[in-house]
């Protein structure tokens, strides 16, 4: 188990290094990154000064190494508009996005996993067919459209919920549903497949033959064995939720990282965009690592052998 974790940690570090490299060279796609960093009104003299202060007149490999070094120390530079370190701006907004992602995850897992299990255990029931259709529909729903529809129905027509911006619990409901719907569908489908796959195994038939009730079966046998694929997807979905928040936050004027990013792009405040992307990548890498470690805890068979 320890060897396994160390190996995965090494791979994760390699990926972090890779992400840094990717982002560094993406910025060079447009040629000189200084042009990205200055406001549109800047003169040539301004550009030259900034190029020197940022060290962009140094050789490329020196810039690359110092970029990686800064990234490892989480020095992401200052916002060009507000002249405050990017990390502190991100810290302010991250709370809102985290709250929204948590709300969406509650919707996704709270509805999706039981729904998937139900669809697997009662596949021929009429209600299950309707629900499966709804899951398919939820999977094809653009988050920004479901958001607008929710605002139209509950915000404008019925006036039950505040249509936008952050505030109390009632502000959180619509963005969470809108963001969580897609992940809900994914989780429901994965859970359904996982439970169906496990259901065909001999040990389930043995338990049924012994006279276990459906509930006992689900609790003692199915839950752990079907959990592996569900954990993988759930970890992936969390990073999808964080990324999807960019759009949902724009729809609901939610002051999180997504809105920060979109405003930063419009204001050409490139260090902030870069910071948010790095954060998103780190979270994804961390979650994948966590999922791999969780496998071993949920299913001890994996601890000893090769990871699946």
């Amino acid at each position: 188990m320890r060897f396994f974790i160390v190996r995965r940690l090494g791979l994760a570090l390699l990926t972090v290094f890779g992400v840094g490299t990717l982002i560094f060279f993406l910025q060079r796609l447009a040629g000189d990154p200084t042009v990205l960093l200055v406001p549109e009104t800047a003169t040539q003299a301004d550009i030259d000064t900034l190029r020197h202060t940022l060290g962009l007149d140094r050789p490329l490999y020196v810039q690359y190494l110092s970029f990686l070094w800064d990234m490892l120390q989480l020095r992401l530079g200052d916002s060009l508009v507000r002249h405050v370190p990017v990390t502190s701006i991100i810290a302010v907004h991250a709370g809102y996005t985290l709250l929204l992602a948590a709300g969406a995850l509650t919707v996704a897992a709270g509805l999706g996993i039981p729904l998937g299990a139900y669809l697997a255990l009662r596949p021929r029931h009429r209600v299950a067919r309707v629900l499966y259709g709804l899951v398919m529909a939820a999977q094809s729903m653009p988050t920004f459209w479901s958001g607008i529809l929710l605002i139209l129905l509950f915000g404008v027509t019925l006036q039950w919920l505040p249509p936008s911006s952050a505030g109390g619990f009632s502000h959180l409901i619509m963005p969470s549903i809108s963001l969580g719907l897609l992940s809900m569908a994914t989780l429901a489908r994965v859970t359904r497949t996982a439970v169906i796959n496990e259901f065909g195994r001999p040990y389930i038939r043995a338990a049924l033959a012994r006279g276990s009730s459906m509930w006992q079966l689900a609790k003692w046998h199915l839950a752990r064995n079907a959990a592996i694929p569900v954990i993988t997807i759930a970890a992936l979905e969390i990073s999808n939720l964080l990324a999807g928040a960019v759009i949902v936050e724009t729809v609901f004027a939610w002051p999180g990282l997504g809105q920060l990013t979109v405003q930063a792009i419009l204001a050409r405040d490139f260090p902030i965009v870069q910071g948010v992307v790095l954060l998103g990548a780190f979270v994804t890498i961390g979650l994948n690592l966590l999922a791999d470690v969780l496998y071993g805890i949920v299913d001890p068979r994996i601890r000893h052998g090769e990871p699946r």
Binding site: G18, L29, Q139, L152, G280
Partner: protein, 277 residues
Amino acid sequence: MTSNRRTILKIAPFAIILLLIVLGAICAPLLAPYSPDAQNLLGRLKPPGTTIRDLHYLLGSDELGRDLLSRVIWGARVSLAVAVLSVLLSGLVGCALGICAGYARGVVEAVIMRCADVFLSVPAILLAILTVAVIGPGMTNVILVLALTRWPRYARVAYGQTLAVAERPYVRLAAYMGAGPLRIMLRHVLPNIAGAIVVVATLEFGLMVLFEAGLSFLGLGVQPPTASWGAMLSIGRNYVATAWWIAAFPGICLFLLVLSANVLGDTLSDYLDRASR
């Protein structure tokens, strides 16, 4: 036989929807009653069914008095063009790299698959946003960005499938008989993994439609005045309280297009699963 027939009946409506949208996109200049960019300041924000002078706003008009029906029809072009081209481009690049990695193994495998891991560890929307922020918005750039962010998905599938196929007797035999790596990859590996790739491509198609609309919604995709469903939704968001129709119709089209692509992809995947058993 009966199960086949039932499947066909089940997917028929979705295939028809897809066909209608494709036809609408191709014949946009013939079908659209007016120019999608023609403004009419007297007919701003009119509800569906309004007639002003000689102009019939069947689906209403937007904030500049442009006919919504015409814009929805022209918007299908953007959605389909971006989705098809980015799926082709990312599929081509991803498959080539994945097959090479799976067949060559060793260093090539390590480099390509670690690169795929890196790309997949940056959330796709964020990577797309960052790249658009660097190279600028616009239709060509959106296609390039989507291809750049999505190739690892194909690479992973192609890689996994190639690993399985490369060990089969007929591939080894071809190698013993002197076939070069390129010939083996193109003539023996590719045809045998094509099914899995097509399934991924169908499901990715729906996702690409959503990504394009998402980027355009954020103002980072196709630029105004070009009609794009995502950009129309973004305008509709601002007028949601007064003019629901601006967001409603492009949204329905987007939803139906993605739904049809997903249902067809799912059915295809089930079919290939059963056929391979």
